[in-house]
Symmetry: C2
Subunit: 221 residues, 2 copies
């Protein structure tokens, strides 16, 4: 009984996610679902990507948080469209929440929509939102063994970003171990080393996003 | 239907947690449920506490991870008793898992049992394990706004440890903002600033644990 109930809930989410993807495609928006631990730098990465991609492209943000609107307030203050989802204790975003947020945001492309998921490397993994891409942000202070401890998030990522590279000299993080751990769970995912503090790696990350956009014919003007 | 099913599951967990607490008390063990984000330093904190508390006290560890036995292997290699729980995708420990782990560990006090929960600031909050104390480990690189974003974990903590203080000069972390955020969700919780890298703050943290132990008459020899 429990299993079948779980399946029907997941399937309802998948159905809504497919409808979200249809809508996003119609609106010529490439949606990026961003997964990370609390404090890995999701909002900081998004802020730099917004600055790099606009005004050449439409950009917008859906912010997911258990509570507070700190991140949305910061992004709106910078002049970008953003809308907040508060899950009130919920541990992941789901496709129905994104449906409502899209209705509130009313963004039109061609461009990029960033969806900042709840800071959690486990639960968001199982819930498609209608995204075209999943970006996983790891960060150097978290340590090099996280892909082995949270394999689901690393296995389902379309790209992995390793943030806070500026802290590398100060912490015990072995890049070889991290990359080997990533390869254990995801053979082909690109890994991009960045620092939101000094901007390192963002040219490559923006280039990857633009290339992903160029692969979708509906993203062309 | 969903709500009542949820309630009965929680209640079953609470019942098992109460049985775990009975058993731990009988075995004269003070159990500390450790909550944190991935990579905040749970295992590093535990290692330093094990060294400080033993051999004067019995010590042991239950390690919770989605996957891998990296942390248990490291603790056993140091000569301390430890047992691993793998949740295989599950986002929190529950009291039934702890029941089985206690059976495997067979630790006898008087002393301290550390339970390292899954790295997740949301889901573990709702599941009592039979612990006497909840310790929340935050870390400086995660940022000063986390109590506002993950209020449940901070609200239910008996003590908050702020780790990686050695990185403070290198990141944008305002201590005043962090403490104000903590007080917004938890008026009276003690906050202890530490660094696993240089040992800062561990005298105070160990002192707090020993004081907590001394308040339980069954912890006396």
């Amino acid at each position: 009984m429990k299993v079948s109930a779980g399946k029907s809930i997941l399937s309802a989410n998948d159905q809504q996610a497919a409808r979200n993807l249809d809508r996003l495609t119609r609106d010529r928006l490439l949606a990026i679902n961003i997964l990370a631990s609390p404090g890995a730098g999701k909002t900081s990465v998004i802020k730099r990507l917004l600055a790099a991609l606009s005004p050449a492209h439409a950009v917008g943000v859906i912010e997911g948080d258990v509570a507070s609107s700190i991140d949305t307030d910061a992004i709106v203050a910078l002049g970008y469209p953003a809308t907040q989802i508060n899950t009130d204790g919920g541990c992941h975003l789901d496709a129905a929440m994104i449906d409502r947020a899209l209705e509130a945001l009313r963004l039109r492309g061609p461009g990029f929509l960033f969806i900042e998921n709840i800071g959690n490397l486990i639960c968001p993994t199982g819930f498609r939102l209608g995204e075209s891409l999943r970006l996983l942000i790891a960060s150097v202070p978290e340590g090099d063994d996280k892909p082995l401890k949270y394999p689901g998030a690393f296995a389902t990522a379309d790209a992995i970003v390793l943030n806070k590279m500026d802290l590398m000299p100060l912490v015990d993080f072995k890049m070889d171990s991290f990359l080997a751990a990533v390869r254990t769970v995801n053979r082909s995912v690109p890994v991009c080393n960045i620092s939101c503090r000094n901007g390192m790696g963002f040219d490559a990350l923006v280039g990857w996003l633009l290339e992903q956009g160029s692969r979708r014919p509906w993203m062309r003007r």
